[in-house]
Amino acid sequence: MREAHSAAVAGVVILSASVALISSLSSLSGQSASFSQSVQPVLARNCFACHNEKLKTGNLNLEALQDNSQASQHPEIWERVLDKLTAGQMPPPGQPAPSKTEIAAVTHWIDDLLQRSGPNRAADPGRVTARRLNRVEYHNTIRDLLGVAVHAADEFPVDDSGYGFDNIGDVLTVSPLLMEKYLTAAAKISKLAIYGETLPPKPTVLVRLMPKKGHETGVPPAGGLTLPFSMRGAMYGSFVFPADAEYEIRVRVANYRGQDPNDLSPEQLAQIEARRKAFLARKKQGGGAPKRVRREPTAEELKAREDAARQAFPPVQLVASLDGRQILTGVVEGDVTFEYSRGEFIARVPVQAGEHFLRASFPELADLDDPRSNVNPDGRRKLYVDYTDIVGPFNPSAAPPESYKRIFLCGHAPGHHQPSCARPAVENLLRRAYRRPVTKEEVDAKLRLVALAQKEGDAVEEGLRIALEAVLVSPHFLFRLERDPPSATAAHLVTEHELASRLSYFLWASMPDEELRRLADQGRLRQPGVLEAQVRRMLKDPKGANLVDNFAAQWLQLRTLGRTKPDPDRFPVVDEELLDAMKRETQLFVSAVVQEDRSILDLIDAPFTFVNGPLAHHYGLKDVHGEEFQRVSLDGEQRGGLLTQASILTVSSYPTRTSPPVRGKWVLENLLGTPPPPPPPNVPPLEEAKLGNTLTMRERMEQHRKDPACAPCHTVMDPIGFGLESYDAVGAWRTKDGAVPIDTSGVLPGGRSFSGAKDLKQILRSQSDAFTRNVTEKLLTFALGRGLESYDRTAVDQIRRQVAANDNRFSTLVLGVVNSQPFQMRSGRE
């Protein structure tokens, strides 16, 4: 039914637009009395004190809207007013509040206005500006188009973002620098796709993967790949293997398990000290170390020493894995020297060309209560993977690369192509690269490049490579262009190929696959049931991770995690591995909501999460061991939902401490969609001298709120943030901040008092309308690649209602977006 609706939507819109226009005109006179009688007086009494011509608090001047006709021209202002009123955020506490009837009169008038202007404005599904592929989309599209795993897009300048996302057509520009990089990438990718990787004549060290050696160590010299720092000595990262072949993975382990001075008895320490002093005394006299008579130890002595070493330093297992599959285990033993020794562990494994994730680590160390117990007093870790060399390729496959098969449809072996192969190859390539049917002229134009190469004496392959190189810098490839049908001045459905692209870039950040393309070719994408089935299929596909990795990561600001790292002096156990684990938890959690089609309100609070050993220790959760992430049930006391995840708690903190206003702002902005306005200019500084240094953060903030300039926002932000004070700046649970016991109680505007995250989450759940509206707006923005306009309000409301009516299921949200008018349609020529 939904599909039928969307197919017919174009006609309906035009009809409803004119009806709405008429009705809104006719009702104008009737409304004016109501505004001046029941709205303006309330505003004057309760709002004008701040929102006037002079102060314009929150950049809002309500005084200016003097009569109904002026007021009716600014539905966008009233939307904001309505949001604040219904969220109970205005007027701020301490200010006289209007009665419930008065508020109802105002909200009623606003609802009415928005409804009148709603359908009218909804006639416009909006126009998305031609979207240049962003870096992620470029990477994925190249992968899916050619089967080439190459990180060319990493070299492109960062995509600018707007409306919180980096896929906004208006903001994605093309600079000469980017064009230069496109050309370079096209040359490189086309060579790889046609000829495969240029392999060395014999196996060599392809790369040295080097984890950082400390919280803040710099990069190794050229030639290595720097990987994150792990206090538990692990090494992990991705590498693009050049060909189907065997490779040696050589893991170099450092074993610095000296005797921990903390474990030594006072007698032993005294002995060491005496020896040191004796040595220094001798050295002063110029004697140096006493001459030792070196004698090879006897077999018995050697064995005794080794046994002693094994007892002092029990063997630890080393495990290496490729894409999670174990490829190597080894045992790192105590050493005869009782000192530092290194070892190399080698595995030889067949690997398919492309990017793979390599990890080498000591799983037992994941269960250390405190990772610092793997660190020697001198700062070096006791056990760690020093580096890993990838050596190869051994016995590389002689078969042409995957990309070759995708391009050369004739199936001839390399070097045996006929010129007649060129046309089908080019046509197929264009159709897929441009994500639409192509004309004969377009194919001919690129075939001329093939002919040119042949004229120059090059083979057909080289000709096709040049054609491919041109395709990869063509505007038809780099941009997602939506063409208006001839003489389309009115809103219209986008073509099915355009719809297929909208779908695939929304859910996958990549080009449509063969199935979508076929459906679009056959004109069946909008047939009943088809679109919904496709959406469900696409969400299940591994590429559906886009909604987590790109949508959620940007929405929740996870991408900034690690941009400014927590201060290692204050949070010494937070290494990059733990930061990555935090991010992973949130990814797995959001992914579970998507994959299990759960209620989106579970994002606020859910009785489960995903942790591995190190993160479980960070949380103080018992009975979670090892490095693998596992799903765990939560009792909801300390953890549950996004707000109590370390990733979010860290992102919303300073590197050195928590900040209740920052966390409060994070919640308002990202969960409720009601960001507080920024501080007014020239805020007088808190007078430290007067406050002294004895005040707690809570007391300081209370002082702050006494300032009328600060109060309106801080009375909303601060209590939310204080509710989360049981979590420190890296998300660990705490009962004290320094010596001060944590107090998580607060009073929200409207007088509702609460204490702690649990209460706070309940309150948020009770405001599910605001939350759902916000998630809908964010997802629709991401899906469309443009900022929402006032005319999108109807679509948002529709989706929101559908979601609420269907247990807030995630799939309803996605389907609502996909079926919405702005997603299905495009307004006429500007």
Partner: protein, 456 residues
Amino acid sequence: MNISLKKELPRRTFLRGLGASLGLPLLDAMVPAFAAAATTSSKIPARMAFVYFPNGVQMDHWTIKADTDISALPATLPRTLEPLASLREDVTVVGGLTINGGRELGDGPGDHGRAGASYLTNAHPKKTFGKDIQTGISIDQIVAQKIGGQTRYASLELGCEEGIQGGNCDNGYSCAYSNSISWRTPSTPNPPEIRPRAVFERLFGSAEVETDPVRRARRQRYQKSILDSVLEDARSLEGSLGKTDRRKLDEYLFAIREIETRIQKTESQNTRAVPSIAAPSSSIPENFEEHAHLLMDLMTLALQTDSTRVITFLLALEQSNRAYREIGIAESHHGLTHHGGDKEKIEKCIRINQLQMAQFAYLVKKLKATPEGDGTLLDHAMVVYGSGLSRDHDHDDLPTVLAGRGHGAFRPGRLVRFPKETPMANLHVTMAEHMGVPVESFADSTGKLNYLSDLG
């Protein structure tokens, strides 16, 4: 010390396909293939560069107290200027300049977004999350568009901090406004390159540059046909796009044409610059100072080899939250600048400003140590160091230091204080003229600045 590139980049041909952090080789058609003695031009060109730092300064520790508006720099400089102590005779400290476009002007908060986007444009950026980005053309681009044809790169944009990816930037201003300070058009920023290795390869190429004349010529014919072919694609779209899509296509066309000219220039150029430094690592240094030094070495080389005459450099982005742990500061910079009068935080802000200034001093020393003609590169360069914010979030009396003499454009060694509200655009107009680009008026400019040069 000259190092052969071939030796510096072994196994490059093979390695280029591997791993995320290995650089892409430069489009070889843009690198001259034939090494030859450096040409000595009779007329040494003037150069122009801007080094930007974010989040303003503590003006109490920047402002030089002097009785007269023009005076010699004092023996003791305020703390923020201390890194310039040994360069006293090479810099001009300028006061009184204002960028009115950075101010609120009824748009409410967002001084950081506006500061970055107005710094070289002097325009008042339109407040938008992204739909209709609009500031002005920046002065570096006005100059580059006129004289850029004489060098391989019309301009270079460099930076030490990667742009914000997703999320929100400053109070309703798209991140585009703070990610770049160079604007080719009012809606098209030029993003900075932050990878030293990529800058190196743009200047000097990689080991892959084809040197066989026959193959190179053929490769260039292909390149030309490819560009012709995509230009044809773009032109076929011209009639069928709406207004905003058309704007995107124009960006595309401009970029393609820019590359075409660059290739033509390279063809006519018979020399290949040989770098005096080794290719930097493909990784980006974590250490701020190390990163800045590498880029400034390359910046000096780019000017020295006349690969470009116009460079902008972003030490960090507006509202940067970088924590400068290398000098023992764990808190984020932007957070610290909202110090609320806390003395400890103010002290940290000053030290960060000193660190930033020290990078500029490094650059100036580098330029000064590069002989050119009868003098040094610094004698022929005009380098501006500054920020679009002064105290708190103000846009007047902006902290500004000029280095170099720019062929007599500047007479350094002095403090020059202009009357309050003198437009920064006046400085830009003055500099453009010395670059050989007379600009009648630019944004809110009211004329050229006197007192900076030997003449007045």
